[in-house]
Amino acid sequence: MWDYSEKVLDHYRNPRNVGKIDNADLIGEAGSLACGDSLKLYLKLDGEKIVDAKFQTFGCGSAVASSSILTEMIIGKTLDEAKEITNKDIAEELGGLPQEKMHCSVMGHEALEDALNKYYGGKYNNTTVTNSSEKVVCTCFNVTENQILEAIKINNLKTVEEITNYTKAGGACGRCKGYIKDILETYWGGVNKTEKEELTPTQKILKISKVIDQQISPELQKDGGDIEFVDLDGNKVKVKLTGMCQGCKNSQMTIKTFVESILKDKVDSSLEVEQV
């Protein structure tokens, strides 16, 4: 049972502004039936002011609550003011949402964004992320790189799991998790690059050894394997896989997609990992 706030309970039990506005000026849509939730948002304008808003939602309790509170938040606002509303604002207004349900607030925001985009002729875009792209990352839930970047930016997301909670991406077959990790790394790498200081070789070895012991080794042990840090040669990290990992046909993949990406993220992006 989810730990829903009183406000979420109130809004799924007594949703406000349910229905359709017949001569709506703007209609925003997000989600789909196949993915398990979808939202249609109707706006009535007087000039640039939202004078009425209604919604229809197919989704769980927090999806209905997010849609309902969103209509309350935007009625009476100008389009410029509405533009500033993010998924975080929706979740906060509801007194918080369980982490796994944050994607409901994101759906509300996406429907609003869709409606506003129609008004501004597609020119409106809340993201200021450069190189934004409509490329689909998660094919199961049809989530684009843009949507992921926006969720990272607004909610300060740092892990793949958080991305899944907020956007659903990676929540089904999981094949795009590597891709999501790359997006996270690119985003935070770009932001943090200047903050990272150059490590001396000894510091680097210590740091690599610490990351392997504390973050990589425990994961491999779960599958009955393990890893040993053998040597650092320039930027080449030499490791040895042991236990079940030894001779496993997926070991090369483990090295590249798991070990190397963590070391790149935590120690130095120029590191390469090889098995000895």
Partner: protein, 396 residues
């Protein structure tokens, strides 16, 4: 409160609790100890083992091993068999098994095992011919659940075991019997099934106790190394009160089997008929007669399952859903997807599961309340045109 989620867990029968209490109070001796004080708990375990033997329809109580739960029983059987038979590297199972079985096979797949996952038809019935065609010389294990937890559909495990043994006598057959136990008669001694797991809390014993049936010629390794308990295959001091509780629950459930097959079934059928008649967007996800008598899975089109459950809960009704939002993952039920249930109903699928404690008035109340809930929830749905079409079709 109206509790219609008995496939998730059941209420502990008062008589079971009564039987357990002495072993939670004064009779705390370790049954392995060598003094008179230990005689009573040791005898209580023997007695419980006999009752569980009869519940399984097993020949000998030596074939019964107590575990902590259904998941442990499944892990003990699967890992135990495969670890004892390392040259055979092929497994056959189904797409609709419980996660404790599926995830164990996922683990073995990572170890290089080849696993065939057999599908089900639109009614949730196993593709038995396909299963038979996959049997090979190096098949270590064929693993099929007795009844599915979400749909209640019973799989022909006896026929499958018979076939497997006739073609490949050394292949082991494991049956996850968790959802069949206490709902339909079991008679393992007259089958070729090698191992079967059950879980106490699905038939009115408390949570934290399970059992594994195993034919005498089967060899397995143990999950837990330690003492001599459970003939060395499941170490750890016996959980005496819970073993006693499961023994009593097994006895009571065996006595109540006829009631399950007639009265519980009548109430289940009444619930299905009532909802189908009164709720325009309801459809049975499966209606085959070969189901355990207590389970019903109904899809409510264009409405999401968690939202239905929350509104049911507000009226004191407990049920469960195969929707993505309730499963903790983001994907809807793997069972309903394997059946090819359309998206329109998949996310709005609700499982009602009854027990011998379900009252007629409970069922009447749900039938009475369901139409108003659906009127409210369909009015929120963005799929008004589709819903209107359904409404008209229902009227004709």
């Amino acid at each position: 409160m109206i509790y219609l989620d008995n496939n998730a867990t059941t209420a502990v029968d008062e008589k079971v609790l009564e039987e357990m209490l002495p072993y939670l109070k004064g009779e705390y001796a370790n049954p392995s100890s060598m003094y008179d004080f230990a005689k009573k708990p040791a005898a209580a375990i023997r007695d419980a083992r006999v009752k569980v033997r009869d519940f399984f329809g097993a020949k000998d109580e030596k074939e019964i091993f107590f575990t902590s739960c259904g998941s442990e029983s499944a892990n003990m059987a699967i890992r135990g068999v495969l670890n004892c038979n390392k040259e055979k590297r092929h497994i056959i199972t189904t797409k609709v098994e419980h996660p404790c079985v599926l995830n164990t096979y996922k683990y073995f797949e990572k170890q290089g095992y080849e696993v065939d996952y057999i599908g089900v038809n639109a009614y949730g019935e196993l593709e038995v011919e396909e299963l038979k065609s996959k049997l090979r010389k190096d098949t270590a294990l064929v693993s099929v659940m007795y009844a599915n937890n979400e749909t209640g559909v019973i799989h022909p495990v006896e026929e499958i075991a018979e076939y497997v043994k006739s073609k490949s006598p050394e292949t082991r057959v494991f049956v996850d019997g968790v959802q069949a136990a206490g709902k339909i008669p079991m008679d393992v001694k007259n089958t070729k099934i090698d191992l079967m797991g059950i879980s106490g809390h699905k038939f009115h014993a408390p949570k934290g106790i399970g059992a594994l049936y195993m034919k005498p010629d089967v060899r397995i390794t143990s999950l837990i190394a330690g003492g001599h308990q459970e003939r060395g295959l499941r170490a750890g001091t016996e959980n005496v009160p819970y073993i006693v509780g499961m023994g009593k629950a097994a006895e009571l459930s065996l006595d109540a089997l006829k009631y399950e097959g007639t009265e519980v079934k009548r109430l289940r059928d009444k619930l299905e008929a009532g909802i189908l008649k009164n709720v325009f967007n309801a459809r049975l996800n499966t209606s085959v007669s070969g189901r355990v008598p207590n389970t019903s899975n109904i899809g409510f089109e264009y409405v999401e399952g968690e939202l239905i459950l929350l509104h049911l809960s507000d009226l004191g009704i407990c049920a469960s859903s195969g929707s993505a939002c309730t499963s903790g993952s983001l994907e809807p039920s793997h069972v309903l997807r394997a059946m090819g249930i359309p998206f329109t109903a998949l996310h709005g699928s609700i499982r009602f599961s009854l027990s011998r404690f379900t009252k007629e008035s409970d069922i009447d109340y749900v039938i009475e309340k369901m139409p108003a809930i659906m009127d409210k929830l369909t009015s929120i749905s963005p799929f008004q045109e589709e819903l209107q079409a359904l409404r008209q079709r229902k009227q004709h």
